[in-house]
C-alpha cells in the first residue's frame, strides 16, 4: 500500500504487561513520528526519527516508553509495564523530509490496558 500502516490495529493487554506497536512509514519518507491520542483529545507528540539519526525523545511521558527505528524505515514503539492511563490510540506519521513537510498519518493502534 501507499500509505502509513500500523499494527496491530487493536491491542488489549493486562496492566503490567509490555506491548510493542509497529509502524511502516511511506516508502522513501525519512522522518517518522509517534503521537498519542487519548479518548476525545487532540494528539500528543511522543518521539520522532529523522533518517538514521538519534531520535528526539522529548515527548515520551515516562521511561517506560521507548522506540526504535531499524534501517531508517520500520519503527517499533514499546511500552513496558503498561498502566491503565496508557490506554489511548497511538498514531504514527511520516513525511518526506523534516521541516515544513506535511505529515501523513497511519490508522493508529488502539491500546486498552485492563
Amino acid at each position: 500500500g501507499a500509505g502509513v500502516s500500523q499494527s496491530p490495529s487493536n491491542k488489549v493487554t493486562e496492566k503490567g504487561k509490555d506491548v510493542e506497536l509497529r509502524c511502516d512509514p511511506i516508502s522513501g519518507h525519512t522522518a517518522l513520528y509517534w503521537y498519542r491520542q487519548s479518548l476525545g483529545q487532540g494528539l500528543e507528540f511522543l518521539i520522532y526519527f529523522q533518517g538514521n539519526s538519534a531520535p528526539d525523545k522529548s515527548g515520551l511521558p515516562s521511561d517506560r516508553f521507548s522506540a526504535e527505528r531499524t534501517g531508517g524505515s520500520v519503527s517499533t514503539l514499546t511500552i513496558q509495564r503498561t498502566q491503565q492511563e496508557d490506554s489511548a490510540v497511538y498514531l504514527c506519521a511520516s513525511s518526506p523530509r523534516q521541516y515544513q513537510e506535511t505529515q501523513y498519518f497511519g490508522p493508529g493502534t488502539r491500546l486498552l490496558v485492563l
Binding site: 513520528y33 487532540g42 494528539l43 528526539d56 515544513q100
Partner: protein
Amino acid sequence: GESVGLHLPTLSVQEGDNSIINCAYSNSASDYFIWYKQESGKGPQFIIDIRSNMDKRQGQRVTVLLNKTVKHLSLQIAATQPGDSAVYFCAETAPLNAGNMLTFGGGTRLMVKP
C-alpha cells in the same frame, strides 16, 4: 506552554451550507499550519496546509485563511456534505519545534444535518 486551541468544540451545519472552523494559536514563531480531518476509528487525514508567507490558500471545496496579526487560522468548507462530518484538528509547527513536531489543537466536531 505554547498551544493551539479551538473556539468551538462542536459545529452543526445544514447540508449544502458553508462551514467555518476556527483555530487560535499562541506561538508567534509558528510558520507552518495544517488542517486534518479525523473520522471515527481512523487516523488524521491531511486536508490543506499553509505557510506563514501566505494568508489564504484554496483547495477543492476548502479554503484556509491565516491571520498572523491575531494568530488565527480558519478552515472554510464550501457546500458542506454529510461526508464532511468528522473532527477537524488544526496543527502548527515552528522552527524551534523539535523535528517539525506538530502541536495540535483540541479538535472541533463538525456535524452535517441532512
